[in-house]
């Protein structure tokens, strides 16, 4: 296993004055890998990722990105440190065109405009559909196209680690396959990926590592193949399987 690009340890987070939703979670993502977080609804998967990208300030614990402690950085600073993020919903600016969304995704993180065109061409290579519709309002896109745009925007500033919150949720089967292909292609181009997925099998096929999150804690952290081949995958996913037998990493 190569050096981790992201290390999370003893992380605690929650909303407002409410109790902890993330209760001491710890795991790591290897450089160049795809890791997938699974877990039941309400386990805190989205909350975990929001606290990683700085939308929620962690209450305790540390987040290390590329060897640097980034725990207390706010969202803009985390983005500049190389963290990309595609939220589960509300992930594009609906009142802007596709082109404006892409420009915006680049200019405030890169803080220059020289590389804008190259970045845009790179994203158009992965999502050719976007190129034909650059002048269209993002609010008029279908769910699948909007998801592609959100993904493309996150890639604009060339992040070193990309966090995806259920990239295939609500997509038709054709788009689901396309989305996982895109995830794989982006990863092969050198971007490490941490994603949340409910399409567990499709996700594990392209992942190196599975992270099972239940009730705000990491219940298992294992090679994706072991997860797929586990005799009681359902119990594992729900967090009720015997973790020692599942062999955590």
């Amino acid at each position: 296993m190569s050096n981790p690009i992201l290390t999370v340890s003893k992380l605690r987070a929650g909303y407002g004055s409410g109790g902890d939703i993330i209760k001491g979670a710890g795991f790591s993502v290897s450089q160049g890998a795809i890791s997938t977080i699974v877990g039941p609804n309400g386990a805190g998967k989205s909350t975990l990722i929001k606290s990683l990208v700085g939308l929620l300030t962690p209450r305790d614990g540390t987040i290390t990105l590329n060897g640097k402690d980034v725990t207390q950085l706010d969202a803009p600073a985390k983005a500049r440190a190389g963290l990309g993020y595609v939220p589960q919903e509300h992930n594009v600016f609906r009142n802007m065109t596709i082109g404006e969304n892409m420009t915006l995704a680049y200019e405030f993180i890169a803080r220059e405009t020289k590389g804008l065109k190259a970045a845009r061409d790179r994203v158009f290579d992965i999502f050719p559909d976007l190129a034909h519709r650059a002048g269209d309002m993002a609010g008029n896109l279908s769910g699948g196209q909007r998801q592609m745009l959100a993904f493309g925007c996150a890639l604009m500033p060339d992040p070193s680690l990309l966090l995806l919150d259920e990239p295939s949720a609500g997509l038709s089967p054709k788009y689901v396959a396309e989305m996982f292909q895109a995830v794989k292609a982006v990863n092969q181009a050198g971007v490490s990926i941490l994603m949340i997925e409910q399409n567990v099998k499709e996700a594990m096929v392209i992942s190196e590592t599975a992270i099972v999150l239940v009730a705000g804690q990491v219940r298992a952290h294992m090679p994706a193949l072991d997860f797929l081949n586990h005799p009681d995958i359902h119990a594992l996913y729900m967090g009720t399987a015997d973790v020692a037998a599942a062999g955590s990493v």
């Binding site: 983005a79 939220p87 600016f93 404006e100 995704a105």
Partner: protein, 286 residues
């Protein structure tokens, strides 16, 4: 009739500048800034200070008034609105009422309560196609149009404008995109200070300068913003012109003392019939 229409458009343009300002701050900060009224007053007085007390030409004094008011808006943000950033909009609305009264009383304290006027030559109105147009109206037309074009350009064509639209649509996503919300808010206060400052000078040129001058604009400005669709600055311009024309035309059937009631009536009607304004929710913050 045509004369009333022209007067209505011009007085609508007077309302348009603060309406844009109100709409911009609403979009980004998510509360209606009631203090817009006394911001107009204060802008007029800062320019008055430079124009009459120091003796610089009105154009330059207006610019200084606008810059001065932008500073006032930034200070108010720092002292009042920023500590309340995550409060609900009722709290912020009430805070802005507080700012309203503080600014109005600063004006009274510094400059007294007498009626004043700018140092400008009084000229005969021009006649054109049977219409009477005075120099003040021409100035209002030019300044308001320039300001609107400038706001449109900033909003639609610059990185700052994209950031403003982004924060007003989805602050979390804007943060993820590397946009610093407080900086954008600062810029929006600066721009709305400049707009309210110019509006104050134009209102002062058109009528008189006294500490209550901005108060008369609160209702029409809110009516314009509600009519145009809250948080939509371009809708606010249309709303403002419609209000101006409606007020002017109302004088055909109502005594002029009821002018103010027209704006109020429009607010009530819009809220009852089309709560999202003429231009609907879909276009908010464009």
């Amino acid at each position: 009739m045509l004369q009333l229409l022209l007067n209505g458009v011009v007085s609508g343009l007077l309302v348009a500048l603060p309406a844009i300002a109100l709409s911009l701050t609403y979009g980004v900060l998510n509360f209606p800034n009631f203090a817009i009224g006394s911001m107009i007053t204060m802008g007029a007085y800062i320019a008055l200070f430079f124009n009459v007390d120091i003796g610089v030409p009105l154009l330059l004094a207006a610019g200084l008034g606008a810059v001065g008011l932008a500073c006032v808006a930034l200070i108010a943000d720092r002292l009042v609105y920023r500590p309340l950033r995550n409060s609900d909009h009722v709290t912020l609305l009430v805070a802005s009422m507080g700012v309203y009264f503080v600014l109005e009383n600063v004006v009274r304290f510094l400059w007294g309560s007498d009626i004043r006027g700018y140092d400008i030559a009084v000229a005969r109105p021009h006649r054109w196609l049977g219409l009477r147009v005075n120099n003040e109206q021409i100035t209002i037309l030019i300044v308001a149009l320039l300001a609107m074009v400038a706001v449109w350009f900033i909003l639609m064509k610059t990185p700052l404008g994209r950031a403003m639209r982004a924060v007003s649509d989805n602050p979390d996503l804007a943060g993820v995109r590397g946009i610093n919300r407080n900086r954008v808010i600062g810029a929006v206060w600066g721009i709305s200070g400049v707009l309210a400052g110019f509006a104050g000078v134009l209102v002062g040129m058109d009528g008189v300068i006294d500490p209550l001058m901005g108060w008369n604009y609160v209702l029409p400005v809110f009516a314009a913003v509600i009519l145009g669709g809250i948080g939509n600055p371009f809708g606010a311009v249309i709303g403002a012109i419609l209000i101006g024309v409606a007020e002017e035309l109302s004088t055909l059937i109502l005594p002029t003392t009821y002018r103010q009631a027209v704006a109020f009536l429009i607010i009530v009607l819009v809220l009852l019939l089309r709560p999202h304004g003429l231009f609907g929710k879909a276009r908010i913050s464009r």
